[in-house]
Symmetry: C2
Subunit: 152 residues, 2 copies
Amino acid sequence: MTDRDSPQPDVRDESIEIIQREMTAFARRARATAGRMHPELSLVSFTLLGHLEDQGGCRATDLAAHYTLDKSTISRQVGALEKAGLVERRLDPADHRVHVLHLTDRGRDVLVQVAAARRIAFRERLAEWDGPDLARFAEYLRRYNEAGVTLR
Amino acid sequence: MTDRDSPQPDVRDESIEIIQREMTAFARRARATAGRMHPELSLVSFTLLGHLEDQGGCRATDLAAHYTLDKSTISRQVGALEKAGLVERRLDPADHRVHVLHLTDRGRDVLVQVAAARRIAFRERLAEWDGPDLARFAEYLRRYNEAGVTLR
DNA sequence: ACTCTGATGTTGTACTCTACAACCATTCGC
DNA sequence: GCGAATGGTTGTAGAGTACAACATCAGAGT
């Protein structure tokens, strides 16, 4: 209720409390929501495909590092994606340990479709927002996650 | 690249794209992060306890409805919390179907401690932010999630 | 050249979270 | 009272994940 060591700590704390609660609520719901929207592609698979698209192919280890997942998890996820025909594994001729991962045409296709569906959902959800608010929200999120990556 | 039907659609879309990406990234990481921070209390368990604290006790069905989880999931989660001594189930004397859930003293205790730890983590993560930015970010998140609950 | 070490992946195992369906117990409407 | 609805639990199954053990291969040191 009262100031302590810095100006308006209670106001800060209240904001932090809200941020914490809302981020938590969002995280709790995200997977289920994503699963309902696209049964074909889990949230994780989607982001993996996205990374492959961005990077134009990469190694399993890169994915593991980038997403802080165990290599066994990546191995199985990629295995599933491969079985689904969305990803191709090619032995690197220069180093026979590594499997270079590439999107297949079908993978690119599915990625595009799911991305479009997601974009529509987000657009709808944010339809009432004006441009400046969107821009600020985007910037805040980026800033928030950037810190997170560093801190872990 | 060019305007289409509304002013600056490309700027809006860019913001939306960022919001989508950052929210997704956050959701992907959240569980693991939360798990690492407090092995004692999963994200879900934490929010369940929190709801119990807020509501001062409620039924399993209420939790299921509020968090869009299956009643069987709630049943097992609550079972675990009960076994851990954090929650008490009492038969409602007025209706022997319902089990009214209450935090135990120990449950309240753990909740307070985990909440404190989370608060510290969030404070650290947001240490560089100034008050107005925090307030705006909090407001944006609230607004975003509010829309989500309605849409579902 | 040979060996040891490290990097890359895969597989076995186990645990958590979750949903769906079948079920039991209880209450409520008529 | 009886059938329908409500509240919960249990059986079963599947996704996602981690950790540990393992197999392969590359590279460095000697």
